[in-house]
């Protein structure tokens, strides 16, 4: 009892400390924003991990948007701030209904950002633990497996992605299967099964759910022997999906109207990892890592996070391989060992396993992510092996030989490692100078820790010290997993959370309008949600097909970052784009001299030269594409223009002003380039070698654009260094009418009044998507097939309303509701005996009439206090509800506030008195027990 209390206080203390510290840091890699020149105009900060973009660029802005809507008492079905409007609820990655995201909606943001990954970790460990326990694995062995399940590469690296929202449910699914196999209180687990699949859908990563579901099905077919239970299993999985119909129906609708559908189902079959990257599962840091100082992706572009998903530590792997061979007779070992081999075959496209991924549907999902399940499988095998450790003991002679071999290996390793380090340093000067120490540090640590752990483990094994050997395993997990990945996501100061830099401040000053980024990554789609701006583009992995196709057609020129690189004013107007953020002067003609970006040209004292022919154009600016090796260099950088060795222009800049992977347009004094004459651009710096220099990216030659002045069509609103903010003149939200007035522009509803002298076709700059209905003078009208809302209206004044009324969502809600009721009734019916059990004797022992009265009075008093405290929390319900002119709009009073307080009061004034009474009974029963 005392120990329990001690742990309780410890836990409370830890939570308080966590809460206090949570004010100062956030578990969100917002430092990645420093990749954008617009974010680093004032100060450059090195990005800790270059791969953690999505959580900051997409998931967090979506949650910000969802939170803002939910706290206004609204359901965000639609996101009007991106891509001229995109489905929001239908986009699963928003995880709108994922239970853990409710922390985000109702807790302070900083706190929620820290709490959610922590809870995810606890859940993954907890679910794996209970799964292992139901397999009759000992507690300590289960702890080993459970901890590894989280720290095996996949979960820890994808913790901020919705993939792990679903992935952490996988052990719970397996646990349920085991409980169904056992057959006791099966109804409870069947209900839980449906709920788990429902949560899986809310998790926001259908692919991971698909993978988990398939593996779970196979596992269940193998494990559940009773046909009836197996049938019930499938029925309840189906019910779980039906429960989430309100999410699935809109999602499928979105997919069927998306480019994803076109790309996935018409593209090349299957997604695999390159076989040469398999070593990442054993030695993940050999080529560096994104969270370390040096990192290089594989030549085909497959990055670290994908490749190292199956990593579980070399020591653990050795134990598991060895143990699995010895314990292959156990069914659970066979299932996992064979499963892992098959999964590896699929992931790395090994014949004949990969043929599975040629099957329909399976060929359209990212099967390479199955690597995460390999890591999980290894965790389970580890626990099974650790539990059966006596079964893998060796002959005493073998121990002796092994100890000797390891000792020799240790001795030989010291000179070998030192020698290879020296050779490496001499063979790869320059860039490798920084990488080699990192590499050798890693190899040494990994090698020595493995050998020492093996020695320790063998020692324990030999002495039959079962528990101690498990502590060695835990130590191995700590050394070879936790230590390698603990800082994969770095904590960031709270102040760095979507900072309002100079560009943002400028955007706040001007009237709201759609933004487009051109050239550099300065303000990518979706982060606009964090600032309350509108971006004409959307990045959500699905995308509305008609709009995206039209957009690509209107802005066909993209750079290698996939960003629009050239714009025409008519296309901007067509898409209702009011502002452009670019890296160059839009009032220029731009001619590409040399393209390509895959090679680096370090700019040192030795000049890099590019010859080109004049075409009679004016040379106003030169646009280059720079690399800084993700560091700040302290040299001076020079650009010179020559004609026949005669210098026409020379400009000097500081290297530290350049950013990695960014375009720079360097203004020159206007030089007219004579037609057919040879010119030479020369780039040089004061840096003696590449170690402290910037580089130009290019193909065979450095990437160069030449800009020359043209008509001033665009209005320059703001500029600093290579970040320009342009205003697009003549942009209208509605095209085709003489006059219009927008009355209300809400996410799911637009109302406006138009006036035209004749019958006309109007175009409303909102994405046309199933579920949007347009009413003219309260009569529903047909819209023309177009990516924007386009309709015919008669002459005169008209009241037009466009409403998002997704039919499939409504059908889904009904189906989900019916399923929910069916599940509740089924469950309650199965628990009838429990519910009908007469417990009056228990309650009567403690409760007299007067006592109840007093307890309820006390309960009401507490409830009143609780209510008064909670009512002090100010919730902004906004004024969006004020459509009409009534008492509320006149007094700016939100009825939702009253409704919210009313419902809150109802809950509090019922629950608190009941809890008070329950507490009283519990306390007295405890006393009675003691006495």
């Amino acid at each position: 009892m005392k120990i329990n209390k001690f742990f309780l206080f410890l836990a409370i203390g830890f939570i308080i400390l966590f809460l206090l510290l949570s004010n100062n840091f956030i578990y969100l890699p917002v430092d990645i924003l420093n990749y954008f020149p617009a974010f680093t105009l004032e100060k450059w900060i090195r990005v800790h991990n270059s791969l953690l973009a999505d959580p900051v660029f997409q998931f967090e802005p979506w949650r910000i948007y969802a939170k803002s809507r939910i706290l206004m008492g609204e359901l965000p079905l639609w996101n009007p701030y991106n891509g001229a409007g995109v489905p929001f609820l239908a986009n699963p990655q928003t995880g709108l209904f994922y239970p853990l995201n409710f922390f985000y909606y109702f807790l302070p943001t900083q706190l929620a950002l820290n709490v959610i990954p922590f809870v995810k970790m606890v859940l993954m460990v907890g679910f794996t633990y209970i799964y292992l326990r139901v397999l009759n694995i000992s507690k300590l062995a289960s702890v080993c497996g459970a901890i590894l399940s989280f720290f095996a590469g996949f979960t820890v690296m994808w913790i901020l992605w919705p993939h792990t929202n679903v992935f952490i449910l996988f052990p719970l699914m397996l646990f349920i299967t085991e409980r169904i196999r056992i057959g006791k209180k099966i109804n409870r687990y069947l209900l839980l099964l449906a709920i788990v699949y429902f949560i899986g859908v809310t998790g926001g990563h259908p692919e991971t759910l698909f993978h988990a579901g398939i593996l779970h099905f196979i596992y269940s077919i193998i494990r559940i022997k009773q046909t009836r239970n197996l049938i019930l299993f499938f029925i309840f999985v189906l019910l779980g999906f039906l429960l989430s119909a309100f999410l699935l129906f809109p999602f499928f609708e979105y997919v069927f109207h998306s480019l994803l559908m076109v790309n996935r189902f018409n593209g090349p079959a299957g997604y695999y990892l390159p076989i040469q990257g398999i070593f990442y599962n054993f030695f993940p840091l050999l080529l560096g890592a994104p969270h370390l100082e040096y990192y290089k992706a594989l030549p085909d572009g497959t990055h670290f996070q994908e490749l190292a998903g199956g990593f579980s530590g070399i020591f653990v792997l050795l134990i598991v391989i060895f143990g699995s061979v010895r314990l292959f007779k156990l069914e659970i070992v066979r299932i996992y060992a064979i499963g892992i081999v098959i999964l590896l075959g699929i992931v790395y496209k090994i014949f004949p396993f990969y043929l599975v991924s040629d099957l329909p549907i399976i060929n359209s999902v990212a099967n390479h992510r199955l690597i995460g399940f390999v890591g999980f499988g290894i965790s389970i095998l580890l626990a099974v092996v650790a539990h059966n450790i006596t079964g893998i003991r060796l002959n005493s002679k073998v121990y002796k030989r092994l100890f000797l071999a390891l000792f020799v290996l240790l001795l030989v390793s010291v000179p070998l490692l030192t020698l290879s380090f020296i050779i490496g340093k001499n063979l790869f000067p320059g860039q490798a100078e920084k990488f080699l120490p990192q590499l050798f540090k890693y190899i040494s640590f990994y090698f020595y820790s493995t050998v020492i752990l093996i020695i320790l483990f063998l020692f324990m094994l030999k002495r039959n010290m079962q528990k101690m050997s498990m502590f060695v395993i835990l130590l191995a997990i700590l050394l070879q997993n936790v230590l390698l990945f603990y800082n994969y996501v770095n904590l960031q100061p709270t102040t760095s959370y979507y900072p309002a830099h100079e560009l943002v401040k400028q955007l706040y000053k001007i009237p709201k309008g759609a933004i487009l980024q051109v050239g550099n990554l300065n303000f990518p789609p979706n982060i606009n949600l964090a600032y309350g701006f509108t971006n004409i583009q959307s990045e959500d992995a699905i995308g509305v097909a008609d709009f995206q196709t039209a957009f690509r057609k209107a802005f066909p020129t993209r750079n290698h970052l996939g960003i629009v690189d050239r714009v025409e004013i008519n296309a901007l107007r067509e898409f209702g784009i009011s502002y452009v953020i670019s890296d160059y002067n839009l009032n220029s003609n731009i001619i590409n001299v040399s393209s390509g970006v895959n090679h680096l040209f370090p700019i040192t004292q030795k000049p890099t030269v590019l010859d080109f022919l004049g075409k009679g154009n004016t040379f106003s600016e030169v646009r280059i594409f720079t690399a800084t090796y993700n560091r700040q260099n302290s040299c001076n950088f020079f650009v010179s223009l020559y004609q026949d060795e005669r210098i026409l222009f020379k400009k000097s800049m500081e290297c530290r002003d350049f950013r990695d992977n960014a375009f720079y347009s360097i203004p020159m004094s206007d030089v007219v380039l004579e037609n057919g004459k040879k010119y030479k651009l020369e780039f040089s710096s004061t840096a003696p070698n590449a170690a402290n220099a910037i580089a130009l990216r290019g193909g065979r030659k450095p990437y160069i654009d030449i800009l020359s002045r043209k008509d001033k069509k665009f209005k320059l609103l703001w500029n600093k260094e290579n970040v320009y903010l342009w205003g697009v003149p003549g942009v209208e939200k509605i095209i085709g009418v003489e006059k219009y007035k927008i009355l209300k522009d809400d996410p799911e509803k637009l109302s406006l009044v138009t006036y035209s002298y004749k019958r006309t076709s109007i175009s409303i700059k909102k994405t046309m998507y199933p579920g949007w209905n347009v009413y003219v003078d309260n009569a529903k009208v047909q819209t023309e097939s177009h990516y924007f809302m386009k309709l015919q209206i008669p002459e005169g004044a008209h009241y037009i309303v466009a409403k998002y009324e997704p039919l499939l969502f409504v059908i889904g809600v009904i189906l989900s509701g019916v399923t929910f009721l069916a599940l509740i009734i089924y469950f309650a019916r199965s628990e009838r005996k429990f519910l009908l059990k007469n417990r009056a004797g228990l309650y009567r022992a403690y409760l007299t009439q007067d006592k109840i009265l007093r307890l309820y009075l006390l309960g009401f008093a507490i409830a009143l206090v609780v209510f008064l405290i909670l009512s002090q929390i100010k919730i902004d319900f906004g004024d969006r509800a004020f459509e009409g002119i009534n008492w509320y709009s006149e007094n700016k009073y939100s009825r939702r506030h009253d409704q919210y307080y009313f419902l809150m009061a109802t809950i509090i004034f019922i629950i608190v008195p009941i809890l008070t009474t329950v507490f009283y009974i519990w306390k007295n029963s405890q006393k009675k027990k003691k006495s």
Binding site: H798, Y799, A881, E890, R895, F902, F909
Partner: protein, 525 residues
């Protein structure tokens, strides 16, 4: 309930019939005397009158109730003739009598002692809040509680009644639907014989579908089904959010206590009508907790189902008070019934071996009841003028045998004369202040769907109204400058586009010593 003698039954029946017919409630006026409520009675009269002119429900008229609530008055007008008296008689007297009868049917299951029943009965008869809209809910609740375990015919009848509830008013349908949900939910979980439950559920659904089907066929054949669905949806949406046409913030006692230092004012506020709303809420919570306790202590019996349903009904009605405290009376009937139920419990307990606490609680109940009654003191004063007013005779067409004040009579006469002089029966006339009764009294048709202009406060409705006015060009538009601005927001403020339109296309003049603004089409002059 204790058994009543035949004599008692006759007296009760007579009271149920005669009090609403002759005296009315303490709040409302009698069918024979009292100014016409130009809004509530007015809209019913206007709608029926428009229908006499060939307008269709919902399609041409924005109706906030169900068709079964409105259509009977149209039938009465059609059969007997259009008079404001019939509106009052039907909704005020017949409706109240039927409502009280249904309510008595429901509370008969409470097994109340006469000492409790009679005061409760008198309160229910005199205190407003029971109309046909509430009556149908209580009838339905009685039906499903009394007969759901019986033959399938009763379940079939319950299904029909549920459809009827919804077609009388959507709120009644929602409350009744909720009760059905609870009842069948309980049966599906706890009944041993699922087959019987499914069969009764099926017969219930069959009943529901039969009436719904007939209704759909009728509405579709007349061409207003779609409009009914969209209007009902709009009513439910707008009245449940912040876009309701009429409503105000819920009184917040903290504002009062913060703004005023402790004084006798605090005590007054504690017993004020505002605080009564909070006591009402607490009563519902206490009732829930009481039921939970009964369940835990295994003393829950069938009568507690009644208490549960009445509490839920009261709670749902009370929810509508959040923003519309004027609907206080809707939740008052359940409140009084719950108070009576608890009073009886306490009385019996005190009789047996009462404690001081129980006595205290009983006194508290009496005090709260007294406070409720106190609200109606001003209404009682109206009765003083009853006899003198009866002596005055008037002959006002379409008013019927109802005596109204001289002031109201003059007002009606003034407008009627003006309309008759300047328009024909086929001309449109629009009343911009909220007085739809005028359409009935002057027998003219509204050019739009909105007889109560304040309901057209939202942009889409404003523009719909604007387009209707543009299209139909009413010959005259009236605006009573002293009419009641709903929630202190006048229609001129609510309908800016309409005002702009009128100013652009109409000339303004005054009648009634400047009280009434009359707008005539510019090109008419």
């Amino acid at each position: 309930m204790e058994k009543f003698s035949k004599k008692e039954k006759v007296i009760i029946t007579l009271i149920i019939v005669l009090v609403p017919l002759l005296l009315g409630s303490l709040f409302f006026i009698t069918p024979w005397y009292g100014d016409i409520n130009v809004i509530d009675e007015g809209q019913m009269g206007a709608w029926a009158n428009h229908m006499l002119h060939g307008k269709l429900m919902y399609k041409d008229i924005y109706i906030t109730y169900g068709p079964f609530y409105v259509y009977p008055i149209y039938v009465i007008f059609k059969l007997i003739g259009p008079e404001a008296f019939y509106v009052r008689l039907f909704y005020g007297s017949v409706g109240t009598s039927l409502g009280i009868a249904a309510l008595l049917l429901f509370i008969s299951r409470f097994n109340l002692k006469k000492i409790i029943f009679y005061p409760l009965f008198i309160l229910l008869v005199f205190i407003p809040g029971v109309s046909i809209r509430q009556g149908v809910i209580f009838f339905f609740l009685w039906l499903i509680l009394e007969h759901s375990n019986r033959k399938f015919l009763y379940n079939f009848l319950s299904g029909i009644t549920l459809a009827c509830c919804f077609l009388i008013t959507p709120e009644a349908g929602i409350i009744a639907g909720f009760a059905v949900f609870l009842l069948y939910g309980k049966k599906l979980i706890f009944d041993k014989n699922l087959k019987t439950v499914f069969l009764s559920l099926l017969s219930f659904i069959a009943g529901l579908m039969v009436l719904s089907g007939l209704f759909v066929a009728w509405a579709q054949s007349e061409g207003w089904l779609g409009s009914y669905i969209s209007t009902t949806r709009d009513v439910l949406q707008s009245f449940s959010g912040s876009n309701l046409p009429n409503g105000k913030g819920f009184p917040n006692p903290l504002d009062f206590f913060v703004a005023n230092s402790p004084s006798i004012g605090w005590v007054k506020y504690i017993v004020s009508k505002d605080m009564l709303l909070y006591y009402q809420f607490l009563l519902f919570m206490i009732s829930f907790l009481y039921l939970v306790t009964r369940k835990l202590l295994s003393t829950y019996d069938k009568r507690d189902n009644l208490l549960l349903l009445i509490t839920l009904t009261g709670y749902i009605h009370y929810y509508s008070l959040v923003g519309r405290t004027g609907n206080f009376f809707l939740a008052l009937t359940p409140t009084i019934i719950i108070l009576a139920y608890f009073a009886q419990k306490l009385l019996l307990a005190i009789k047996r071996n009462g404690t001081r606490t129980q006595l205290g609680l009983l006194i508290l109940i009496l005090l709260i009841t007294g406070r409720i009654l106190y609200i109606f003191i001003p209404s009682l004063q109206n009765l003083k003028g009853l006899t003198t007013q009866f002596e005055r005779k008037q002959q006002f067409e379409r008013l019927g045998p109802v005596t109204i004040s001289f002031e109201q009579e003059v007002y009606f006469q003034l407008i009627r004369n003006y309309v008759e002089r300047n328009t024909t029966r086929n001309d449109y006339v629009y009343f911009l202040s909220n007085e739809p009764i005028m359409y009935l009294l002057v027998d003219r048709v509204n050019p739009s769907r909105y007889d109560l202009p304040y309901i057209a406060h939202s942009p889409e409705k404003r523009y719909e109204l604007l387009n209707a006015l543009k299209l139909n060009s009413p010959k005259l538009i009236f605006y009573d400058t002293v009419s009641w601005p709903v929630d202190e927001v006048s229609n001129k403020k609510r309908l800016p586009e309409i005002i702009d339109f009128i100013n652009d296309y109409y000339n303004k003049s005054y009648i009634g010593n400047g009280r009434i603004e009359v707008y005539t089409l510019k090109d008419e002059k």
